[in-house]
């Protein structure tokens, strides 16, 4: 926590994006998280991704639940809409907001407590409904706000700060999201922005439910020897299987990728995710391939990262419900209240 505001001065040669903004224009207020918290790096990666995508900040809605991770949206995108909701209930609020106004970009920021414990049910259902949103979990395996008890994602066999072993099975949110039908599933590490930033850009550009599980160490309660969520452990055990480059639709794709070397997947807006798998047999468009790889690495105690699964062109909630293709606040009185005749017709149709 820092007592004075960050200076508004910035580097004189900072690049600007298509909107004429620097990345500093996408920042939020000063972080009150612990010094060294991985969540601040996740926030910085979101800032960088939104800057690079030239997103107008006022067209983004940030939603969160309760926890250190759910505090984090305050510290990025200060000019966006924000809703800090009830513990574990961010998916419901996001669903409501999204149904009312489908024109905003929805960014949910949650944690392992918020999504894997109290909010596990909500999480499962928002995934299977395929809400068009980006859902980031800053995952540190500990309840930081309540002084570091192991969370539901803490790996069985890992040690707590006091030396006690975690005995319960850890929930793997990536596997859960895959099995529930997420169409964009990735895992990354807060300490590796080179990997994380393109993943966030891809997720924000993806039409459908995009899930990113970000290993984000708790420097205060879960960064010790024996933890499987510490900076050192993650650096030593991370294996980046599928690296992803985000290529915006406006730029010319100059290098055609060689088959087997990289795979270009077109997104709905014409941008491209260029994926490179470290293992040629891996198919990032196959769920079974993803499940197998995740399990194989888990058995070895490794943390598999990268864009693990992508299904482009899948339908999402609005399409499944056949909703009106405008934001509700953009509809006029006539459209919202079409009159007696229409009501009569509707009633007739049920007889």
């Amino acid at each position: 926590m820092t007592c004075v505001p960050k200076s508004k001065f910035h580097h004189p040669q900072l690049p600007v994006n298509e909107l004429g903004l620097t990345y500093r224009d996408y920042e939020g207020s000063m972080s009150t998280l612990c010094a060294g918290c991985g969540h601040d790096s996740v926030g910085a990666a979101v800032v960088q991704a939104c800057f690079e995508l030239s997103l107008p900040a006022h067209r983004v809605a940030k939603l969160s639940g309760i926890g250190c991770s759910s505090k984090a949206p305050t510290y990025f995108l200060g000019k966006s809409h924000g809703f800090n909701s009830v513990h574990g209930r961010m998916p419901s609020v996001a669903t409501g907001a999204n149904l009312a106004n489908r024109e905003l970009i929805y960014l949910g920021m949650s944690g392992d407590g918020d999504s894997a414990s109290i909010g596990l049910g909500q999480f499962a259902h928002v995934v299977r409904r395929k809400l068009n949103m980006t859902y980031i979990v800053a995952n540190n395996g500990a309840y930081g706000l309540t002084k570091g008890q192991p969370s539901a994602t803490a790996d069985r066999g890992s040690l707590m700060k006091g030396g006690k072993e975690v005995t319960d099975e850890g929930i793997d949110l990536v596997s859960l999201a895959l099995s529930m039908g997420a169409t964009y599933v990735a895992r990354s590490f807060s300490g590796d922005k080179e990997e994380l930033v393109p993943l966030i850009k891809g997720a924000l550009s993806h039409k459908g439910f995009a899930f990113i599980d970000v290993m984000s160490p708790c420097v205060t309660f879960n960064n010790h020897q024996g933890s499987t969520k510490s900076y050192d452990y993650l650096r030593d055990h991370m294996e980046s299987l599928i690296s992803a480059d985000f290529i915006p639709h406006k730029s010319e794709i100059t290098v055609q990728s060689e088959p087997g070397e990289a795979q270009d997947i077109f997104m709905h807006d014409g941008s491209v995710m260029r994926l490179r798998a470290a293992d040629e047999s891996y198919d990032p468009c196959s769920r079974s391939s993803a499940f197998a790889a995740i399990e194989a690495h888990r058995e070895k105690g490794e943390v598999l990262t990268g864009l693990l699964y992508l299904e482009s062109g899948a339908s999402h909630l609005h399409e499944n419900l056949n909703t009106v293709d405008k934001a509700l606040n953009g509809l006029g009185y006539k459209e919202l209240c079409p009159g007696d005749e229409v009501l009569k017709e509707l009633n007739e149709s049920f007889r």
């Binding site: 926590m1 820092t2 007592c3 004075v4 505001p5 960050k6 200076s7 508004k8 001065f9 910035h10 580097h11 004189p12 040669q13 900072l14 500093r24 972080s31 612990c34 010094a35 060294g36 918290c37 991985g38 601040d40 790096s41 926030g43 910085a44 807060s190 300490g191 922005k193 160490p217 420097v219 205060t220 960064n223 900076y231 050192d232 650096r235």
Partner: protein, 593 residues
């Protein structure tokens, strides 16, 4: 790159741009903090130790520090360092008890100083404090050299100068004023262990044009200024042309404006932007209704019936020749005659040593000046030293003071029988400023105020007399606010690689993108891979040893705000804010610390 050696005093010294740029290496941020705290006596003493004339320099310094100030790279205007120095001088109390005392026991060595300008007075102070007996010879009755004769009192009141010279005289100078040394050969026969020449560059450069000979109303600018200073001249014609574009020209035109000149015009050969005068001096002259006309080459002093009536100019423009050199070519327009009653020539100054015989073992260089060593300030004759404008031609007061310090070191070494080439070394000490988790002993908050303007006397009043100081100076409140603009560049970001866990917090929080964690490489190539463009090669990189991941931490010092956020957000204390105190040796063993 190799890991940075932060024990090398120059590394962190370079980060303190103002101190590095100051010829006397005054610890600027240190005294600015004292001014912000209202500790004017302490701020004055910090200055006095380094630059001897804080009250004078707080008004008329050339301010190389402000050109260098990091604030000018972060926003538009540097900190008003010079004017803050004046705040300390204006508001200090009686400091008699604070000035160091001369040792009771003298060391038995006698030193003579010729000329009583800033260089000699600095040598006098430094050596008196070491126990030397110092004799000072000045041809005039009043001391101060060009500080008194060339700088008009509306910029530098006499009493400010008197007071600071008095402080030095009080240390026990053996003063010989009104004594003109006319032969160095004879002078060297006297019983001195060392002699220092600080006689300045006393001769104005002439402009040999048609009509120069018969004219009676054409004056050398510096001579005319000193006649004004010593009350030998009381007025000047209503229409005055000043030739020249340096600070002397600016002093001439503004003085003429106060001596009866109603239409005063400055004319320069080349472009306005190429003028040697400081920007602020040009602005102040123009604010007093003095036009500055450029690209006009003087051709002739025009006379009618033996009386000066004007100056004829050829109009020129700037062109670059094939070698990229600038030349002035006539535009072909008809010549312009500017009518005037008097002309002041301020086209340069020269050194003049008619009193130094050429056969006494002193080597002269190709410009017929005594050859002087740039580090030791020694002439080719052992025991004879030069400094100030007398050494390398016209510069400025703060340079003369710096020369004085170095010459005093040489004289001290020489008198002790040691080699004058083995200079005492600079040093650096670092002291943590951490007071608590988020608490620093300096004001780490970056203030966004623009540079404050110095209040001025109402112009009609200012122009009514040569004795009225134009600037009122900052009052304590304005001084406080301006002082807070200082970025505290001497509070350094010090990195301890063993503690770093590479969490990226410092990278994320740094408002200026100074910090990068990257693979090592050669400097040129490495600068291209940093978090933000890194193209100010005058500013060093701070490079760590290899970290756990095999990368290094590289910090570009260029636009660091010294806000301390890296250290506040660091979970392990790998970053710390530490004040660098650079010790700059002086002859007096009280070398600053």
């Amino acid at each position: 790159m190799f890991p940075t050696d932060t024990k090398d005093p120059d590394h962190f010294h370079k980060v303190v741009d103002c101190q590095w740029a100051c010829p006397a290496h005054t610890p600027v941020p240190e005294y600015i903090r004292l001014i912000a705290a209202g500790r004017y006596d302490d701020a004055y003493m910090v200055n006095w130790e380094s630059n001897v004339f804080p009250g004078v320099l707080g008004r008329v310094c050339d301010r190389p520090c402000e050109t260098a100030c990091r604030r000018g790279r972060v926003e538009e205007q540097p900190v008003a360092i010079c004017r803050l120095k004046r705040v300390a001088a204006d508001n200090k109390g009686t400091l008699d008890e604070r000035f160091p005392k001369v040792p009771d026991e003298k060391n038995g060595k006698k030193v003579a100083l010729i000329g009583a300008g800033p260089a000699s007075l600095t040598v006098a102070r430094d050596l008196l404090l070491e126990g030397y007996e110092v004799s000072l010879f000045e041809r005039g009755q009043q001391l101060g050299g060009m500080m008194r004769s060339d700088i008009p009192s509306f910029r530098l009141p006499q009493n400010v100068l008197d007071e600071e010279i008095e402080t030095i005289l009080n240390l026990g100078v053996d003063l010989h004023s009104g004594v003109n040394v006319t032969s160095l050969k004879e002078f060297l026969k006297r019983d001195y262990d060392a002699v220092f020449v600080g006689t300045g560059a006393p001769r104005g450069r002439n402009l040999d044009l048609p009509g120069r000979e018969e004219a009676t109303n054409i004056y050398m600018g510096i001579d005319w200024l000193s006649q004004v200073a010593f009350d030998h001249v009381e007025s000047i014609g209503k229409r005055v042309v000043v030739l020249g574009g340096g600070n002397t020209a600016m002093d001439c035109c503004r003085t003429a404006r106060r001596m009866g000149g109603e239409n005063v015009t400055v004319v320069v050969r080349s472009g306005y932007d190429e003028m040697k005068a400081s920007d602020w001096e040009k602005e102040e002259a123009e604010a007093e209704g003095i036009p500055i006309l450029d690209y006009r080459v003087p051709k002739e002093f025009v006379h009618e019936n033996g009386k000066l009536t004007g100056v004829r100019f050829e109009k020129v423009r700037k062109e670059l020749d094939e070698n990229g050199r600038r030349k002035l070519v006539p535009t072909g327009e008809p010549d312009e005659i500017i009518e005037c009653d008097d002309v002041l020539l301020a086209v340069g100054q020269e050194n003049s040593f008619p009193w130094i015989e050429r056969d006494i073992g002193i080597e002269f260089n190709e410009w017929d000046m005594p050859a002087v060593d740039e580090e030791t300030f020694s002439s080719s004759k052992a025991g004879l030293f030069f400094g100030g404008d007398a050494a390398f031609g016209p510069k400025n007061i703060i340079t003369a003071v710096a020369h004085g310090h170095q010459a005093a070191i040489s004289i001290d070494l020489f008198c002790r029988g040691e080699a004058i080439e083995s200079r005492p070394a600079r040093g650096v000490t670092l002291a943590s400023q951490r007071m608590g988790m988020h608490d620093w002993s300096y004001n780490s908050e970056v203030h966004h105020d623009q540079r404050f303007k110095v209040p001025m006397v109402e112009q009609s009043k200012a122009l009514s007399s040569i004795k009225i100081e134009v600037e009122l100076g900052f009052d304590p409140l304005l001084g406080h606010d301006e002082a807070l603009r200082c970025l505290n560049c001497d509070v350094q970001t010090v990195f301890e690689e063993k503690l770093c866990i590479e969490c990226d917090s410092c990278v994320d929080v740094c408002p200026m993108d100074c910090i990068s964690f990257v693979q090592n490489g050669d400097e040129g190539e490495l600068r291209g891979r940093l978090q933000a463009p890194s193209n100010n090669l005058n500013q060093p990189l701070l490079v760590s040893e290899d970290l756990k991941t095999g990368r290094v931490m590289v910090k570009d010092e260029n636009v660091c705000l010294h806000c301390g956020f890296c250290a506040e957000r660091c979970p392990t204390g790998a970053w710390d804010m530490q004040q660098s105190i650079i010790s700059i040796p002086q002859a007096s063993c009280r070398s600053r610390s």
